[in-house]
Symmetry: C2
Subunit: 233 residues, 2 copies
DNA sequence: CGAACTGTTGAGAGGCTTCAAGCCTAGTGG
DNA sequence: CCACTAGGCTTGAAGCCTCTCAACAGTTCG
């Protein structure tokens, strides 16, 4: 029996979990639902590329998206991850520039595309929506500024520890204290801004110091307070 | 004859140069002018400190403000500079958090304080204002992301060259090709994210390589194309 | 089973930082 | 008016952190 192409489930196209849409009036929310286009994206798919023109932004209802920039020699710098109930591509859309980042699926995802026109409609008609948008982007800018300071002043060791803790905040742990996001060593390096080999060596040290435990890409936290000390927080 | 305390001139309290206020209706602009409070700040004055509560944002009508974060061991990381027709403190205000940066006058300045209530009023009543605000903050976020990539991937030498070029874009040159902003070596280091001594050594090298000329804090550009090459742009 | 990718470890080089000492400039007070 | 002081600037030396290169093991997948 050939399985049909998988479509997102009803639940996976539901936008009511997004804080951003909380304050919409009924007709606005209906319009949003009418105009959204939700699709399933397999791991590895590029949602949009640096330099491409965007026609709207995306709401993530399932999976994990990696947002990165391509720097020197094609080395990628990961800017952030987006998961359920978060939005992507809105920054470039708002400033009407070509995308300045690339978005790639790293865990099978469902995204709902919202056309630019709809975004504008909401901005024009509902100040609470704009206000919320301003707050979301403000938060992201704050994080970016924090990260600039870290990356400029901290050692690679401190940054790696901090990144692990940040990932813990964003992706929770299972009941075994294991991080629920699977990243390659190279990806970790591309967040921290270092070489893959450095990440490998430091992870080994953390393991040796009983801060974490490693099983392939699974990272289990053993001593969070000590890790925070290493991170110099 | 004792000189009276200097007040801002009429011209220095004029907000019509701000793109942000371009699309305001007459009564909105009048309200803005009624509620603004403009003052003169001498070099060295702290406008607001990291952690303080803000009651409004500021419009810069004269001078230069340095925005920075305090990192490890009190070492400052300069996030950006604000000059005429730019606004500061709006990010923390929008997200209603304590300030996450400090703002310090580095060239005698005139700032107009706009109360939070007025900001909210404009957001609620004029979608074009919100839209413009979204675009300003989008631009800042883009720059922050770009800078994260640079600082994570480029060498100190490349970053210093790039910072010099960025300063050139933002503060123009006089007819002698001399940068019209005066920074200490330490401040340059705090932008680039390196040690003061490294900046000094690299500036000497740039001078030796005939890329720039130095006279105290004055930096004169001799060969911009070559400097761009060094910056790896 | 081979190809391609990921992970690991070692060695060597070099970019940057840190520490230390001294110079220079500007502002201060006698 | 000038010595004095503080802060900025400069240079040198030593050493470490991190990167790069290289070789190889392990894994995944067609």
């Amino acid at each position: 029996m050939r399985s049909a192409i998988k479509r997102p489930t009803e639940d996976e196209t539901n936008l009511s979990g997004f804080q951003l849409f909380m304050k919409l009036k009924e007709d606005e929310f209906n319009r949003l639902n009418y105009e959204k286009i939700c699709s399933l994206y397999k791991k590895g798919t590029i949602i949009y590329r640096e330099g491409s023109r965007l026609t709207g932004f995306f709401c993530v209802t399932r999976g994990i998206i990696k947002i990165y920039k391509t720097g020197i020699d094609g080395k990628e710098q990961i800017i952030r991850f987006a998961k359920k109930n978060e939005i992507i591509a809105y920054r470039s859309l708002l400033s009407q520039e070509s995308a300045c980042t690339t978005a790639k699926v790293i865990e099978d995802a469902v995204l709902c595309h919202i056309p630019y026109q709809t975004l504008l409609y909401l901005i024009e008609n509902n100040w609470k929506f704009s206000h919320h948008m301003l707050q979301i982007i403000s938060a992201e800018l704050r994080e970016a500024n924090d990260y600039i300071t870290d990356i400029a002043q901290k050692t690679v060791r401190e940054r790696l520890a901090e990144v692990l803790l940040l990932l813990k905040e964003n992706f929770d742990l299972d009941n075994q204290n294991t991080l629920q996001i699977s990243l390659t060593r190279e990806e970790l390096a591309n967040i921290v801004g270092t070489a893959t080999e450095s990440v490998i060596r430091l992870l080994s040290e953390f393991k040796h110091d009983k801060l974490i435990e490693l099983q392939g890409r699974k990272i289990k936290f053993l001593d969070i307070p000590k890790l925070q000390k290493v991170a110099n927080i």
